[in-house]
């Protein structure tokens, strides 16, 4: 990430998690959540890239992302 960019909408992340968990989110926990999300996306994109490369595509297609989604989500099941 380039410095100076707005990284992510913190309020939105908080709202999302709050809606899903029906719990309050403490003040700075959302940073960790976003960190976890970044790690998730990293894994997902990596898996999708591997899959795309195996099926001989250039770039990442939606199909490979969908294929990788299930595995990656299972991996990030706490």
């Amino acid at each position: 990430m380039a410095p100076g960019q707005k990284m992510y909408p913190r309020a939105t992340v908080k709202k999302i998690v709050k809606a899903h968990s029906k719990c309050n989110v403490s003040k700075n926990a959302d940073v960790m959540m976003f960190l976890d999300y970044v790690l998730f996306m990293q894994t997902l994109v990596k898996e999708a890239a591997i899959d795309a490369k195996q099926s001989g595509e250039r770039g990442i297609s939606a199909r490979s992302v969908k294929k990788a989604t299930a595995d990656t989500l299972a991996k990030f099941k706490g």
Binding site: M1, P3, Q5, M7, Y8, P9, T12, V13, K15, I16, V17, K18, A19, H20, S21, K22, C23, N24, V25, S26, K27, N28, A29, V31, M32, M33, L35, D36, Y37, V38, L39, F40, M41, Q42, L44, V45, K46, E47, A49, I50, D51, R58, G59, I60, S61, A62, R63, V65, K66, K67, T69, A70, D71, T72, L73, A74, K75, F76, K77, G78
Partner: protein, 488 residues
């Protein structure tokens, strides 16, 4: 005394090496800086042959490392090493003894290259005999080991029978141990609204087809319009079954991005109802018109029977043509309007951001720009050739994002409730990341944050996390204990 003097004289040369050795040591102790200049200077003179050889080897290795022409250097070292092997000693001996001895013709199966090189009379004779006796090629008595290199392609590499999948992580090993409810399919069923095409359930892809074909694809309401009880009822029942399967999750279906469930309702009330209603009739007219063009005389006769003016045959044809043109134009306009309607419709569907969680709380999804930027950066680091993210890919990434946050929320709420809290804390997040195998004793969450997050967020993390500090203290204590043990 007379004996002692020669004894001294004998002893003196024995002492001299020590006397020679001492200044060396003294020099080391006196000014070590001068001796550390080069490795050869620092080295004590080795006394035993083994030590000498070892030191020479070390020197050679060092020079091989530091000289630019490494390869040649290595070769020379290898040559030197070869020179010292006992085999070479034996070869030298044989060279010395060779002129006086006669070469033995080998009686074994394969005459080696050495005997051929000798090219003595006997071997020549033998070869001639062999040729006479065995017109067939001599069988090999050894295994054809050399050929294996050529036939490598036939040999399949050994494959493990267990982990044929792509990810060989601890998680994948762990997966079979997990509960059924946590397996990926269940995971998908729960969150999915059929938009993941891994199931055989056919969702919006047909909408794409429809967009391409324009009219005739027969998925959208035409069956529903023709007979309301038939096709649509089937479809609806299938869809409702699917919704019943995911009864755990009660998110509003119509709110989702590309849920197929909304298709009957939405499309019925909007553009798609019009298309099939118009298309069959217009199609027929077009074909009729074409038929009319092909078979002009009978049609004209028909028109004549109808009582139109008989002399306007060309005019009639023209009118037909005009009608055809009009029809085609109309068709084209309808197609165009549909095509124009569809993307707008989709865009509207995509934009509908608010979804409802299973607790009945509305939530937005993460903005697409953030996801796209993040994915692009990560794709660049993952080494994808074309790091651009297409719209479809972005859609599926958004879907994955939604599912991820849903899963995250569920897990975190479980942890918080287990701890008897109503608030999700940082400790829950630390716990979650440890269970995800993202952090371990070697990688702290703070190190991960340092790697992935910008500095502003990092500062907040640093201010924020007390449980992690405790964790670290425990680690450092353990390390101290280990150090103490090592010391004692």
């Amino acid at each position: 005394m007379a004996d002692s003097a020669p004894n001294n004289g004998r002893l003196a040369p024995l002492r001299t090496p020590q006397a020679l050795a001492t200044p060396n040591r003294r020099a080391i102790s006196a000014d070590p800086s001068s001796n550390r200049l080069s490795a050869s200077a620092r080295r004590n003179r080795p006394n035993t042959p083994h030590a000498r050889a070892a030191s020479r080897a070390i020197d050679q290795r060092r020079t091989a490392l530091f000289t630019p022409g490494r390869v040649g250097r290595r070769r020379s070292i290898a040559r030197e090493r070869e020179r010292e092997t006992p085999r070479d000693l034996l070869r030298n001996l044989s060279r010395v003894l060779a002129p006086t001895s006669t070469a033995l013709s080998s009686s074994s199966s394969s005459p080696g290259p050495n005997s051929n090189n000798d090219s003595t009379l006997q071997t020549l004779m033998e070869e001639g005999d062999d040729d006479d006796d065995f017109p067939i090629e001599r069988p090999r008595f050894s295994l054809p080991l050399d050929r294996d290199d050529d036939d490598d392609s036939d040999l399949k590499p050994p494959r493990s029978s267990i982990l044929e999948d792509d990810n060989y992580t601890a998680q994948s090993i762990e997966l079979p141990r997990r509960a059924w409810s946590e397996m990926p399919p269940g995971r998908l069923d729960r969150g999915s609204f059929g938009s993941v095409r891994m199931s055989d359930y056919i969702g919006p892809e047909i909408a794409d087809d429809d967009n391409d074909v324009g009219i005739d694809s027969g998925f959208f309401p035409p069956p529903a319009l023709d007979d309301d009880t038939g096709g649509l009822a089937m479809d609806e029942s299938a869809i409702f079954e699917r919704m019943d399967e995911e009864a755990r999750r009660q998110t509003m279906a119509g709110m989702d991005d590309f849920g197929p469930i909304e298709i009957p309702e939405m499309e019925n009330e909007s553009t798609f109802m019009m298309a099939p209603a118009d298309s069959p009739t217009r199609d027929q007219t077009v074909t009729e018109g074409l038929e009319a063009q092909d078979e002009d005389p009978p049609q004209v006769e028909d028109y004549d029977d109808d009582g139109n003016e008989p002399f306007d045959i060309p005019g009639l044809q023209d009118e037909d043509d005009v009608d055809d043109d009009n029809n085609q134009e109309l068709l084209e306009t309808t197609i165009v309007s549909q095509a124009a309607d569809l993307p707008a419709h989709r865009a509207r569907r995509k934009k509908a951001g608010k979804k409802i969680s299973r607790h009945g709380i509305e939530y937005p999804s993460l903005p697409q720009g953030v996801v796209k930027r993040l994915a692009t950066t990560l794709a660049k680091t993952a080494g994808v050739g074309k790091a651009k993210i297409s719209a479809d890919t972005l859609d599926s990434l958004m879907q994955a994002t939604d599912w991820f946050f849903e899963q995250l929320g569920d897990d975190l709420s479980a942890y918080a409730q287990h701890a008897g809290r109503k608030t999700i804390d940082e400790s829950d997040m630390v716990m979650l990341m440890r269970r995800q195998r993202q952090t371990s004793t070697s990688t702290t969450p703070f190190a991960l944050a340092q790697r992935h997050l910008p500095r502003e967020l990092l500062q907040e993390l640093r201010m924020a996390v007390p449980p992690k500090k405790i964790y670290r203290k425990r680690q450092s204590r353990q390390a101290e204990v280990e150090v103490e043990e090592e010391v004692t």
